[in-house]
């Protein structure tokens, strides 16, 4: 898997390169600011970009904007954004363009190598990877349709939002695949998502949830 990194902190950039190379990924470029990152993406056409939210010059949301821009120019590019803190506006901006191949993690999750690599693979394969913190914060918000869900259904929906598939959800919650499916059907029903061919109900449910 070919990866481009955008991270302004030299030490952290080296750490990421070291980690990913050690795990057998091919880090084709490591940029320290948004323009260099966009140039590297154009030049190397990587599979995945790992991008820090805060980058020069203002250290606010340059990384998010660069990631959105890179996705606009290269729609196939998967993007995993690393953030110093959970900011829901960041996540929403990122997801506004579509949920395929997008991830948003807190920086220190990188240290949990298995989880980080798992998220990286999921994003590279076109899935979604959301930090549990993001999900937890969204969970405290109250919204009418969400209140109709049972505690278990919310758990399932949260894991769906993290980007996990049915089997993975079943494993996490220690239930059968059939049990998970039953919860998901119930969630769809409560969120008024009728089966159609136009909309991926899973994504719609997650979006519903993220936007609520």
């Amino acid at each position: 898997m070919r990866i481009v990194i955008a991270e302004d902190d030299a030490l952290l950039r080296r750490g990421l390169v070291l980690l990913l190379t050690g795990e057998g990924f091919e880090v084709v470029a490591a940029a320290s600011e948004p323009d260099g990152f966009l140039a590297a993406v154009a030049e190397h056409r990587p599979d995945v970009a790992v991008v820090d939210v805060r980058m020069p010059p203002t250290h606010t949301d340059e990384g998010i904007r660069a990631a959105v821009e890179a996705r606009r120019l290269h729609p196939d590019l998967a993007v995993l954004v690393l953030s110093a803190y959970v900011e829901q506006a960041f996540a929403t901006n990122l997801l506004a363009e579509g949920t395929r191949g997008v991830g948003y993690l807190l920086k220190e999750r990188v240290g949990k190598v298995e989880e980080f690599l798992d998220a990286l693979h999921r994003v590279a394969e076109g899935g979604t990877a959301m930090d549990p913190e993001v999900i937890a914060q969204l969970f405290t918000r109250r919204h009418a349709p969400m209140e109709r869900l049972t505690a278990r259904e919310r758990e399932v929906l949260a894991l769906m939002a993290e980007g996990l598939g049915n089997t993975a959800i079943a494993q996490r919650l220690v239930v059968t695949d059939g049990g998970v499916q039953k919860h998901i059907r119930s969630i769809f029903a409560k969120l008024d998502l009728a089966p159609t061919d136009q909309v991926d109900r899973r994504v719609a449910a997650v979006l519903h949830y993220l936007e609520s």
Partner: protein
């Protein structure tokens, strides 16, 4: 006797109190002046000035209680140390000389007026009742209050009649006497007309706005230093340790050695660094919540209201530009108040109102819970108060047992 006269007498009696003090200070000054001729009195001047100020302040307080607004005029508190410094401060302040002039007038004229006002009713009462007990006292005591000997009963009646007339006149004159007694204080104890207090107010307002802005810049600098400096370094440590752990695991698999000791040490290093990152994020959030920078106060408050465990409605009009430190304080007030609502009140709904009235930001958080909230209860209200008061704001907590509870905070925010 009318109420006005009573009130005037009360004023005159109160004025007598400060007049006695002023008279004493005046006497001291005369003594000190005399001592100055031989040199030693000079040392006494600064303490005398302080004493004069204290007495003048007492009179200001008294006049203010009677509704005559007399603002303290001193340019500087008398905090300098050393004789020369204190003398210089005093000489530069026009209020010093005005205080002295007041001491001279109030200690004499004010004293006489006060004494008359207090003695007159007693004397007239005595003389007016003279006919009833004149015959009962020994001959040498048969004198009026003005020491005129009275020997015949008609004279007694005349004296009583005179006393009544005097008393009536005194009652009519009392309000004027009270005004006359207060006049030197009102004239001399106010700031000299040339000192424009409004200019001082403008200057203080400007310096406060500057301080708030500097404070905001400082908060941003700290936040940046922590997020882009310390936090990144720590995450780099976490990542590097993770790399080392993976390398160690591969090494262990290849060589067949257990290497449990190094692995445990690395695990510990990693979890310590991770904890530090989490704590650091908490610290940053407590000094400058990132959401405020990203979405402004209204956005941050609606996120708080949406995240509240108790359903919460928010009304916030257009708040305009606010200093960042005021926004931060308002944010924490609402956050803390909503936490309290969720934890202690048992309320079913809460209401947050944020309004701007010119130079004031008004934040009201109310709930329909069981009330009885007190600052002493370790509810974080003390923390709110400290934050609010640091910004010259006010906080009012209304929480009767049985509810509801309302916290109202006003923060000056420039205009």
């Amino acid at each position: 006797m009318s109420r006005d006269a009573f009130e005037a007498l009360e004023r005159l009696a109160g004025g007598l109190g400060t007049a006695i003090l002023a008279f004493m200070v005046l006497t001291f000054w005369i003594m000190v002046s005399a001592a100055c001729l031989v040199g030693v009195g000079l040392l006494m001047i600064p303490p005398m000035l302080a004493l004069t100020r204290a007495v003048a302040e007492r009179e200001r307080g008294r006049l203010n209680r009677w509704g005559l607004e007399v603002v303290t005029p001193y340019l500087q508190q008398d905090t300098a140390s050393g004789w020369t410094a204190r003398m210089r401060t005093a000489r530069r302040d026009p209020a010093t000389f005005r205080d002295l002039r007041w001491v001279a007038t109030h200690g004499t004229l004010g004293l006489v007026l006060g004494v008359i006002a207090v003695l007159m009713p007693t004397m007239t009462l005595r003389d007016a009742t003279f006919p009833f007990w004149w015959g009962l006292v020994p001959r040498e005591n048969q004198v009026t209050s003005f020491d005129l000997p009275i020997t015949t009963f008609p004279a007694v009646l005349v004296a009583a009649l005179v006393a009544v007339v005097v008393q009536v006149i005194a009652v009519m004159l009392a309000p004027r006497m009270a005004r006359l007694q207060a006049l030197p204080g009102v004239r001399l104890l106010r700031p000299h007309p040339s000192i424009d207090l409004s200019r001082q107010v403008a200057r203080l307002t400007a310096t406060r706005a500057g301080a708030l802005q500097a404070h905001a810049a400082e908060l941003r600098r700290i936040e940046r230093a922590l997020h882009d400096g310390a936090q990144n370094r720590l995450v780099a440590v976490v990542v590097t340790v993770a790399v080392a752990k993976r390398a160690l695991a591969r090494e262990a698999a290849a060589s067949g050695l257990a290497l449990d000791g190094p692995r445990a040490a690395l695990d510990e290093a990693q979890s310590a660094a991770e904890q530090a990152v989490t704590e650091l994020r908490g610290v940053v959030r407590s000094i400058l919540p990132p959401i405020l920078e990203d979405r402004g106060l209204s956005g941050a408050l609606s996120a708080l209201a949406a995240g509240s465990a108790v359903p919460c409605a928010l009304t916030a009009d257009d708040l305009g530009q606010l200093p960042l430190s005021v926004e931060t304080t308002a944010y924490f007030v609402v956050a803390e108040a909503l936490t309290n609502v969720a934890k202690h009140s048992g309320a079913r709904k809460a209401l947050v109102e944020v309004r701007r009235d010119g130079g004031l930001l008004r934040v009201v958080v109310s709930d329909d819970g069981k009330g009885g909230a007190a600052e002493a209860g370790g509810t974080g209200l003390g923390g709110i108060r400290r934050r609010v008061e640091a910004h010259d704001g006010t906080i009012t907590l209304t929480s009767l047992r049985g509810g509801p509870t309302t916290i109202e905070v006003e923060l000056p925010c420039g205009s």
